[in-house]
């Protein structure tokens, strides 16, 4: 799961036209809302011709919106994985992941001022990727847990597949709905991770 260097850089590599188009689409959404996204507007923003846009997204606006949304979701998680990669323990990674993830969500302007119908369009576009997001995070966590298990840092008898699924659900639930927890606060987040996330998983070594 080594992070792709391009995710850490703020700019999309010049060479990748497809990503240049999707970045332009995101800027359009941030500035004018989802409804204002059109092939013309995105072409102008990207400094490319409409013909070039249609070559990469033959399905037109619908395909562009849907693929851009999915791409942006993937980028969010890759950035997060990269940000926590070098931390020593599961606890540290989870704490940092929640804090950084929450801050990234707050900083993003995509959701600002979205009208309900626009929200629905985005949600529909993302619906198919939700299951994939869940699976990818679960598999990523499972790999981490398997390493922890091999080093004797998990409670004896821990089912790493099930534990990874549990952690995935907690992460998604808390990033979506903190319900009163301030997840930008590291100490509060650490308390949460210790009590509700890993207490039954990471434990006295066998």
């Amino acid at each position: 799961m080594s992070p792709d260097a391009e995710w850490v850089r703020s700019d999309v590599p010049e060479g990748d036209v497809r990503e240049r188009i999707m970045s332009a689409a995101i800027r359009c959404v941030e500035r004018d809302g989802v409804r204002a996204v059109s092939m013309e507007a995105v072409a102008a923003e990207a400094g490319l011709s409409r013909t070039t846009l249609y070559r990469h997204f033959p399905g037109g606006r619908g395909q562009l919106v849907s693929e851009t949304a999915t791409w942006e979701v993937g980028r969010f998680w890759r950035r997060l994985a990269a940000a926590v990669e070098d931390l020593p323990t599961m606890e540290d990674r989870l704490v940092a992941g929640l804090v950084i993830g929450t801050k990234m969500i707050r900083r993003s302007t995509i959701m600002a001022n979205l009208l309900e119908p626009e929200l629905e369009e985005l949600v529909s576009a993302l619906r198919p990727s939700e299951t994939i997001v869940h699976q990818v995070i679960r598999d990523y966590l499972r790999d981490l847990l398997d390493v922890e298990a091999a080093e004797g840092r998990l409670r004896p008898g821990t089912d790493t597949h099930e534990a990874a699924d549990y952690l995935t659900r907690m992460i998604l639930s808390y990033l979506g709905s903190p319900a009163g927890w301030d997840l930008t606060d590291r100490e509060q987040t650490r308390r949460l991770v210790r009590t509700e996330f890993i207490a039954g998983i990471v434990g006295p070594s066998s």
Partner: protein, 231 residues
């Protein structure tokens, strides 16, 4: 959801707008002011209750998008003007009151059962099992889950899911006071609600929380070990 992206953007299912810190309370269980975002529940036997129940009946039949205030009024046997007098916000405020009412009804039915149980694990297992089955079998919810998914998610946007979780905490929490101090009871109740919603929105092929024994095992494996550490 916020000037930040919500859960939609990260693929979490439930969304929220980032309206800045959702609560400055350091103790999550005290963050109850958020629940005021949700309409209050309707009184049993009231006209409001008829409206709310009529709304669910309509959604179960025609779906959320096609249901109009007119349909709701007709089904409830009252005038459209009366519906708007009771719910000036129309459809979405009826729906908010309806959700809050259903949760309150569910918890009330549960609380009675929980009184007879002797330990936290059994209580939570029962609560999660019963809530899972109730929500899974809820006809209106089943319709929108099946056919109008994006409507569910955009409804849950704008911190409504947070409000629902906190409502679950304040209503179910008191049933756990025999086993836990108040702050922990509220937090554990919210945890149970999170589990139910997570498995409802992203069902697992391996785990059925509608099965009480399975729910108890999840409680025992992942929640109980952390309660000691917090105390």
């Amino acid at each position: 959801m916020t000037s930040g992206a919500g859960g939609h953007i990260i693929g979490t299912g439930g969304t929220r707008t980032a309206l800045g810190p959702s609560s400055s309370a350091s103790d999550p269980a005290d963050a109850r002011s958020t629940t005021t975002q949700l309409a209050s529940t309707v009184a049993p036997g009231s006209t409001e209750e008829r409206v709310v129940d009529a709304m669910f009946a309509c959604i179960a039949r025609w779906g959320l998008a096609k249901t109009t205030v007119e349909d709701v009024a007709r089904t409830a046997g009252i005038s459209r003007a009366t519906v708007y007098r009771l719910f000036p916000g129309g459809k979405s405020s009826i729906l908010e009151a309806g959700l809050a009412t259903e949760i309150t009804r569910l918890v009330a039915a549960l609380s009675e059962q929980l009184e007879e149980m002797d330990d936290l694990e059994s209580c939570l297992g029962r609560a999660i099992g019963v809530a899972t089955v109730f929500l899974r079998d809820h006809e209106a919810l089943a319709y929108v889950r099946e056919h109008e998914w994006s409507a569910v998610e955009s409804f849950l946007a704008h911190d409504r899911l947070d409000a629902l979780f906190l409502l679950a905490g304040t209503t179910l929490g008191p049933s756990l006071l025999r086993f836990l101090p108040p702050e922990q009871a509220g937090r554990v109740a919210v945890w149970a609600a999170r589990m139910v919603v997570s498995y409802l929105l992203s069902p697992s092929e391996e785990m059925d929380l509608g099965d009480e024994a399975t729910a108890r095992r999840v409680v025992a494996t992942y929640l109980l070990p952390g309660l000691g550490a917090a105390a």
